[in-house]
Symmetry: C2
Subunit: 196 residues, 2 copies
């Protein structure tokens, strides 16, 4: 890798820590990035993961092309991680992993992210979450309207896997694309009025 | 401001440099952020600026809630800065300022960003650029198809202001929303078949 200003990457504890941090629960994200790249390559859909929001507090500014961020923090995302366009429709979703075998803890998703998905649905977009139960190796797509329905009818702090099984859609992992979530949208005709 | 781990913000040269850096040509971005917030507040459209892509090379990871980025660099954006949904349509654009009084230098926009806008248009989205000529205090919206038309018919490395005047749309600055670019889309019926 090349760094501006000829700064050499050092193998130190900070960096190692970052690698550990970055790899924690990022498998679903990697698979979705590969899937989205595949969709773009075959020109099926234009969907990207947004960059991680960072709050920068110190930089070393030597010139326009030589800027090093010296201190920054991970910021709270305003919206969901993924959005784009498919068959002329606006697509918006959040993807999460859980190690639980029984339920998806709602604390994994910020309330303003759920509100965002609700707004998208209201404005005519297709809004959903993709949840991977890592220990069961099962990935579900759950539309926003079904999340809303769940929240309106319970005080539970997690969505049980049975709810995903009856109201969500199981996404089978394939070789390519790895997580073919657009297939779910195709099968239900671009909306979630009927189940397969 | 509060920082994780009780780290106090120091007033030093790095920080001053960052403020200078951040303020350089960010007026249009600020005005668009305020405009987009206004659109969201009145529930007219859900459009956000994406976070700035950062390549992180060193972090100090103490715990999940106490992570400080110690070294990072500004990364090349994969796509455009702004996207979202308006009247059920996918909206995608890039915004740039120029100090030139005669033309917008195409070097201000990455080639892959222009290709991205072209893909969006092809997939049924509404794609454009917003360009502010800061010394003339004029802001134009130019649809992707008109950028493409320009590029197909010339080898020029900049789009002259006359092209914006005849093929783009002047956005008048107002009190609220400051840069009412959705008004342009409304006036042309959500597409750019006809001019006002």
């Amino acid at each position: 890798m090349n760094y501006p200003g000829g700064i050499k990457k050092r193998q130190n504890t900070f960096e190692k820590s970052f690698v550990d941090y970055a790899n924690r629960g990022m498998k679903l994200e990697d698979d979705l990035n590969i899937t989205n790249k595949y969709y773009r390559d075959i020109d099926k859909a234009i969907i990207y993961k947004k960059p991680t929001p960072i709050k920068i507090t110190k930089v070393n500014y030597l010139s326009r092309s030589n800027v090093t961020i010296k201190e920054a923090f991970f910021d709270t995302p305003s919206t969901t991680d993924y959005n784009g366009i498919y068959k002329g429709k606006y697509i918006d979703f959040e993807a999460k992993e859980t190690t639980s075998k029984t339920a998806f803890p709602l604390s994994n998703i910020h309330l303003h992210q759920l509100k965002h998905l609700e707004s998208i649905e209201k404005h005519g977009g297709i809004a959903f979450i993709i949840v991977k139960f890592t220990h069961l190796n099962k990935i579900f797509l759950l539309f926003e309207k079904d999340i809303k329905l769940f929240l309106e009818n319970t005080d539970r702090k997690s969505i049980p896997i049975s709810y995903f099984e009856s109201n969500g859609y199981l996404i089978k992992e394939k070789f390519n694309p790895r997580i073919d979530y657009l297939e779910i949208l195709d099968n239900i005709g671009g909306n979630n009025e009927e189940k397969n």
